[in-house]
Amino acid sequence: MAKKGWTRRRFIQAGLLTTGAAALGGFAKPTGLWAATPKIKGPIKVGYQAVMSGTLAGYGDFHRMGATMAMEEINAAGGIAGNKLVIEFRDSTLKTPEAIQNARYFVDSWEADFLAGVDSSGQALALGPVMAELDRVLMVTHAATEKLTEEQVFKNGIKQIFRICSPTYQDGNAAAFVAKDLPAKTWATVSPKYEYGYTCWEMFKNTLGKLKKDVSFTGESWAPFGTTDFRPHINTILDAKPEGLYSTEWAGELITFVKQAKQARLFERITHVMFPVGAAMDVLEGLGAEMPDNIWISGRYFFLYPDSSQNNDWVQRFRKRWNHYPAYVSETGYATMFAFKKAVEAAGSKDTAAVIQAMEGMQLDSPAGRRVFRKEDHQAMYDVPWGLTAASDKYPFKIMGKQVMVPAKDCFNRPPFEGDESKPPF
């Protein structure tokens, strides 16, 4: 492992620089670009990992677009406390050992100041203890399991982890708040056969059960990662004959599921359908007109919400820069860099302990609206709507028509994350 410290060479370099700077000092005070404050030694290096290969490689591209755009904007405006921001991207491959290897490479070899990214819940949970050991702040931009913030950060005290995207509370709890006002009394699910799928369905059942006494859950079918043939799962659901269908299938698998469910005319038999990550751009654009109307969808961010000048300007800039509508991972990747900037500038340091202190309770105005990093579990609190799919003249894909907002303060679990008082409704 690379031991950090003063080598002879760096000592001489630093000496020369100081002498040079002192000589210049009287004449030219560094201003504008890279005019570093004395306490922070730049550049600020962020190691970003996301999935860049396999069937979900498109997600990595959208992470990269958001983070890169933030880097360009931050550096053009003078950097972070006068220091240049540098990002290195690595493929997380969605495999746990690879995620740990990447984190170690970033910190030990590349000397990253911060880490960001991570798509899979399994990877995020495995990174917990590693981040405590490496002692760098990791901002999670996609992985959603509530166990990361409730158990790793709050209970195990791994303060190095923060999360900027909305967690499973949006998928499970907020969905239940929307479902309680629907006439459906029997619900079934087709969801991913791993941590994310299980934990969302549990949360949806528990919360909806509390909000509405006469609901029952009549069927579940779990599709392994990489499922391309949902017909057997669709049979299970059609046999269960529920009035409502809840599915946390996402990305390409959701596209496949919707197409195959349409062929089975499932949406004619089950009229109340909820897709917690159906508002992802890859799904909306991938399905286009094939996405049925009047399906409840949500996500971690949707580019038409909030209707604020900050968000609208950002979406315009994003489209100009990349010729795409921003995906939610683009927004979380983008906002992450500004969170680092704000925390470092507030702390006047890039040291982990100081940055953690600055980030706890920090407010951040981002395209998705105002985020507040909750002190106890380091989860960013912000609101994302649920909405019904509807066609629009302005876009070649379905957007959210009628919207329902379940505010984060009402649907996010609360510390101490134990017992019923910690879970909505409050």
Binding site: R231, G252, R265
Partner: protein, 290 residues
């Protein structure tokens, strides 16, 4: 348990099985004749899907034209792999062949990302087969019925080719007695190239045919199906087309019934089946005992 449900679980199993068979047929043919376990077969499946899509876009949007033309480009890739790479490792131990074909998996995965991008692409609709039919009160995709018919037709075609034609006799001769066939004037290297290219074409057709049902194309799409195809090939007896067909039917039905009636074990079932076959009959249903 209603009749409707049982019929549809069967239909789902049959169509799943036939999708796997279309891929496993080329894999099995190549192993049976050349003795090469071709990891890159999943890449041919993926390339077949992408080339079909690009060909149909260039040729004006008809799926059937894409299906006809697209896989031919993949055949060209298959030709290059066999003629300029694989041919030089036939005499080496099996691990070298595996390593070489695995290298091509990585190459093709990246190639697809460079040429077509990392995101998913939408699938074309199939003229005439895009609807669904009402079977016992539940709708089943017409396209999947078509695949359930195409699968056995491909099997029949392969049987006729191998058992009833001159070309098939030469293939059988060369695969059982390579030196002897060569001694009586069969140009074995050229024959092997042609079989490899034909196997490649079968894999590419499998990919092109899968796209309308899967609904999208993604880099790495060959990885899931190739595992099923390997399981099927092992159960049926490596190199046996008859075995692969039967294996695909069984795996398709087991996974469909498993998902419906034993959901907790659906991922295990196919592998338990494979383990059982390997324990009780290591050479597979129709494999030759060594």
């Amino acid at each position: 348990m209603s009749l409707e449900s049982i019929v549809h679980v069967c239909l789902a199993g049959l169509s799943t099985g036939m999708f796997i068979w279309l891929v496993a047929s080329g894999l099995t043919l190549i192993f049976g004749v050349l003795g090469v376990l071709n990891f890159a077969h999943g890449s041919f499946y993926m390339l077949g899907a992408y080339c079909c899509l690009s060909a149909l876009k260039i040729m004006g949007g008809n799926f059937w034209i894409g299906l006809l033309i697209g896989p031919l480009f993949v055949c060209a890739a298959g030709f290059i792999i066999e003629r300029f790479f694989l041919r030089y490792v036939y005499h080496l131990a099996l691990p070298y062949q595996l390593l070489l074909t695995f290298a091509f998996v990585l190459v093709f995965d990246d190639l697809v990302r460079i040429l077509w991008g990392g995101g998913s692409l939408g699938s074309p609709s199939v003229p005439g087969l895009s609807g669904s039919v009402d079977i016992f009160g539940r709708y089943f995709p017409t396209y999947n019925l078509f695949i359930i018919i195409v699968g056995p037709l491909v099997a029949l075609g392969l049987w006729v080719l191998i058992e009833k034609t001159w070309y098939g006799r030469v293939i059988r001769a060369a695969s059982t007695e390579r030196e002897m066939a060569s001694a009586i004037g069969v140009r074995v290297p050229a024959l092997f190239t042609s079989v490899f290219v034909f196997g490649t074409w079968l894999g590419a057709m499998g990919g092109a045919l899968a796209v309308p049902y899967v609904g999208l194309l993604t880099p790495g799409m060959g990885e899931a199906i190739i595992i099923d195809a390997f399981v099927v090939a092992v159960i049926g007896g490596l190199g046996s087309l008859k075995g692969a067909f039967l294996g695909a039917l069984i795996i398709g039905l087991v996974s469909s019934f498993g998902t419906r009636f034993m959901p907790a074990f659906d991922m295990f079932l196919t592998f338990i089946l494979m383990a059982a076959v390997l324990l009780l009959r290591p050479q597979g249903f129709f494999g030759k005992a060594s």
